[in-house]
Amino acid sequence: MRPFRYHRPAGVAEAVAVLAAEPQAAYLAGGTNLVDLMKLGVQRPDLLVDVTRLPLDAVEELPGGGLRIGATVRNSDLAAHPVVRRDYPVLARALLAAASGQLRNLATTGGNLLQRTRCVYFQDTGKACNKREPGSGCAARHGQNRDLAVLDWSDLCVATHPSDLAVALAALDAVVEVHEPDGPRDVPLAALHRSPGEHPERETTLARGALITAVRLPHLPAARRSAYLKVRDRASFAFAVGSVAAVLDLDGDVVRDVRLAYGAVAHRPWRAYRAEEELRGRPFSPQLAARAADAELAEARPLRHNGFKLPLTRAITVRALTELAEGTPAP
């Protein structure tokens, strides 16, 4: 482990200024991902700026409806928050489907969004990875890629974003409040993460030094009927091999509004706009949900070991939406 300095900033502006001035500094929040990566030599910051004592740990109901979630609110606390449980069940379920109780007690809202891919090649400094070391190649592209992307990957990177929370937030049209060296800014969740393209080492659209300070959920009454469905290889403590976050608003049988996002398929949480388009304005049926998933996945390019993600994602789309339509989302 590389020796590093530790700094506890007095405020957000100071934290951002320090990060902007120190090219090898990193923010430390829950540390559930960063500390592992430091031990593995994958991330080697020389300065940790600990943001956990900043006053960013509140969950506030907004005047016009909606919720502001402080960046350092712990995953466990957020999942248990009564307003989240009542108004945004998709969010509570996504949080509780993630990691383990111990990890959720530490992991923060902001940190969760910025966690790194769990691609095994990224996490092993003995193997080629463009994300870890630009120009070194992508060992996963023709290697063991069962868990990796089927959508929007590039020849330089086939990693997936591992977060469950981010998938739920993508479906909810959440807005990320960030503080950058130039000042505060709002970033729609859907615009926070990048496609891998030519620069898989650049994972977000944030400026160097940017600090996520909060995540804002819009007023969305339809989200009371929402669900998160996660499929994984064992019953707990595993990353998704497929997941879907869904909000369904029906007018009688007709889909008045729908929000759909996928996890475990791409380099970013995947908002399924095409599927939503197929669904909106039509009478709901499981067949329609299947057609919508197919439309979304039409441009998927499975890798050698992950073709199963297409029928899997289709199946969980149908199930999540059908259960919401029937008013019986499975716990």
Binding site: K39, K127, Q144, R146, R234, L312, A315
Partner: protein
């Protein structure tokens, strides 16, 4: 056996120490001036180290030394090439531990290990086991000393003539023993003597190996192994950590603590070999087996031959007039495989018990009944009656408890909402062996007793079991007995392995206690008046003279699974095992062993898989986040029961050992249940949703 401590459900003697954190493990002993070692893995698969540049590491504050083949203390070349570490520039597999960085802090050692620059000349490699590998060969014997191939009757003719046949090939991947505590050692040299606190399954064999490697008299090496955070076979003998720690400590002339990283546990200390197993069964129309053939392929390394006895299980499990078993090996550029819970029996039973299920389907006979019909009266190998064989009783009792009678044999006939539900059964057996051991029993002046034996408690409850056995053998309440184990200074005993621990150690303990009682009877006043009285025994002669009889524990495994019709997710509703394993010394620790084995079998069936990337010659999922081991949420209902079995041909305590029998049939019971649920037979483990979703069009 007057006081009756044996059979009582005592909690583990050291339980409180463990759960409060007071129990010390190998790298937790306070040692003055201790330093820290960090092992460096090879970055190529096969080749030679051409240069080691230690300068960048040595420049780091706190780094004391970089120990490698160019400067390491010399070891005697021994029979264990895997342990001839830091002696030569050759690299035999990726991840081979080729240097140790020693520093005054763990962090500096770790960073130093990253900074060491090593250059290699690398050659081509072969790391993937295939059924047609050009390097396949026939080993002279398989572990530990079984014949490689056996044949009786004429399998080919018998098979060809039979009215009912099945022929299938089963594959199991590499499995990695992952005890909570990795291989870990604190090593100290004092006046030419070596003291190690080490995590292993037997202090005496580690002592012997270290003495041999460092060319010391055995009494100059002491190995202390008081608590061990699991082993599952992988710590059965001395492994890399203890040798590297001892080398490093000698090099820096200071005590060294060295624990392997989780990643380093995946390979350099062994793993269960992948297997490819073809099983052919033939039967008459009543399901009576007429021909059995089990051909097993597994891998070993270029360093040493390790021949997993995969098909040996088949030799005594079911009888038929025409029988054949074979083993073939390939030497690959991989680390040497090693023991993992029920080596041989575990993968072998998966194949045979799956094949029996397939045969049951072909012949249209209930799989419990099929096994009962084929239960041999005498051991098919030795031609002699089993000392006890209660497979049928286990099957019947299990079937009753499980509610098997109500089962509709039709595959894919049961549905619970989106879940397809099915049930499966498998048999299991594991040899009941004993090894020689020595022990002492001492009567103390205060009326207490001390029993000393170099047994090892790797978390099983062995310490507690021996304490109960000793109390009964002495005829005193257990509170008056103290048991000391886990130290090579104690009377020597074999490893905690092969389900032989309690059988072997209790034998010596009972004999020592008997000898002490005899001695006390001859002592005026019947007790120590002015000193302690000690009796020392060895069971070497008794164990050696034991007649060669077929001695086995048996079990019947039942599983109910559900498979998600849309996603292919598999979950286990219920696991039930019934075992016939001789006398059970402690129901609490026995149950823990049995359900632990069953859970590990569940893990094998559904979750565990070492995923190899041939280009790197290495497993890519080498941590507990990516190498999935069954979690608590996967174990929904699990029951272990046992029959009251008395077998006078075993050992004085009448125990068969229970460390391994729990895993043996579990995977087959689960995969048989998956077939019953879905109609799809997956023959390569683990059974995962991607295999089912693609094959069955389940929905």
């Amino acid at each position: 056996m007057t006081t009756g401590a044996v059979g009582q459900a005592y909690p583990r003697l050291e339980g409180r120490e463990k759960v409060t954190g007071a129990a010390r493990y190998a790298v937790e002993y306070p040692v003055d001036g201790v330093t820290y070692g960090w092992a460096v893995p090879a970055a190529v698969v096969r080749g030679r180290i051409t240069r080691v540049d230690a300068a960048p590491a040595l420049a780091l504050p706190g780094v004391l030394s970089v120990v490698h083949h160019g400067n390491a203390p010399r070891l005697a070349p021994g029979p264990e090439p895997d342990l001839w570490l830091l002696q030569e520039p050759a690299v035999h597999y990726r991840g081979q531990l080729i240097a140790v960085v020693v520093a005054t802090s763990l962090e500096a050692a770790r960073e130093g290990a990253r900074l060491v620059r090593i250059d290699y000349d690398a050659g081509p490699h072969s790391t993937v086991l295939t059924a047609d590998h050009p390097g396949l060969y026939r080993p002279d014997q398989v572990n530990p000393s079984y014949p490689t191939d056996t044949a009786e009757g004429d399998f080919d003719a018998g098979y060809a003539a039979a009215p009912v046949r099945m022929d299938a090939t089963y594959r199991t991947p590499a499995y990695h023993n992952n005890p909570m505590e990795p291989h870990a050692t604190t090593a100290q040299w004092r006046d030419g003597r070596l003291l190690v606190h080490d995590s292993n399954q037997g202090a005496a064999p580690v002592q012997a190996t270290l003495a041999e490697l460092f060319e010391l008299p055995r009494e100059s090496v002491r190995v202390i192994t008081k608590h061990v955070g699991g082993g599952f076979g992988g710590k059965g003998y001395a492994k890399a950590a203890v040798v590297l720690a001892a080398l490093a400590a000698r090099q820096v002339d200071r005590p060294v603590r060295l624990a392997l990283t989780r990643q380093q546990v995946f390979g350099p200390v062994g793993y269960r070999t992948p297997t490819i197993q073809r099983v052919r069964l033939a039967a008459d129309t009543d399901g009576r087996l007429t021909a059995i053939c089990h051909d097993a392929i597994s891998q070993t390394s270029t360093l040493r031959e390790f021949a997993e006895q995969t098909a040996v299980y088949t030799r005594s499990m079911y009888a038929a007039p025409h029988r054949r078993t074979t083993h073939r090996l390939v030497r690959l550029d991989v680390p040497t495989p090693f023991w993992m819970r029920a080596p041989g029996e575990c993968p072998g039973a998966y194949a045979l018990e799956s094949a029996m299920d397939e045969l049951a389907t072909v012949v249209g006979i209930d799989p419990v009944e099929l096994r009962i019909r084929n239960d041999p009266a005498v051991d098919p190998e030795l031609g002699r009656p089993f000392t006890s064989r209660n497979l049928v009783a286990c099957l019947r009792d299990g079937a009753r408890r499980f509610g098997w009678a109500e089962r509709d044999p039709t595959p894919r006939a049961r549905r619970d909402g989106r879940w397809l539900v099915g049930t499966g059964v498998a048999g299991a057996s594991y040899p009941a062996r004993s090894r020689a051991a020595a022990a002492t029993a001492t009567a103390r002046r205060d009326g207490g007793f001390l029993v000393r034996i170099d047994a090892t408690d790797i978390g099983t409850g062995a310490r507690t079991a021996l304490w109960q056995v000793a109390a009964d053998a002495l005829g005193v309440p257990p509170e008056r007995v103290e048991v000391q184990i886990g130290d090579s200074d104690l009377p020597p005993a074999g490893v905690a392995g092969g389900s032989m621990g309690t059988a072997s150690w209790s034998w010596a303990v009972i004999r020592a206690c008997e000898a002490l009682r005899a001695k006390l009877r001859d002592t005026p006043g019947g007790g120590p008046s002015d000193g302690e009285v000690t009796a020392e025994v060895s069971t070497a002669d008794e164990v050696r003279d034991q007649p060669a009889l077929p001695r086995y524990a048996y079990g019947a495994h039942f599983a109910e699974v559900r498979v998600d019709a849309d996603t292919g997710e598999v979950r286990v509703n219920r696991l039930l095992g019934v075992f016939a394993a001789g006398r059970v010394v402690n129901p609490t620790t026995a149950r823990s062993q049995l359900i632990g084995g069953m859970t590990m079998g569940l893990s094998m069936a559904l979750h565990e898989e070492g995923v190899l990337d041939e280009r790197y010659g290495d497993w890519v999922n080498h941590d507990l986040a990516t190498y999935h081991i069954t979690g608590c949420a996967d174990v929904e209902r699990i029951e272990a029961h046992w029959l009251d079995e008395r077998d006078g041909e075993l050992n004085p305590a009448g125990v068969k050992g229970i460390g391994e029998i729990g895993i043996v049939g579990t995977a087959a019971a689960i995969t048989n249940a998956v077939h019953h649920a879905t109609g799809v037979r997956i023959r390569d483990l683990p059974v995962r949703l991607d295999k089912l979703i693609g094959l069955s069009g389940l929905a």
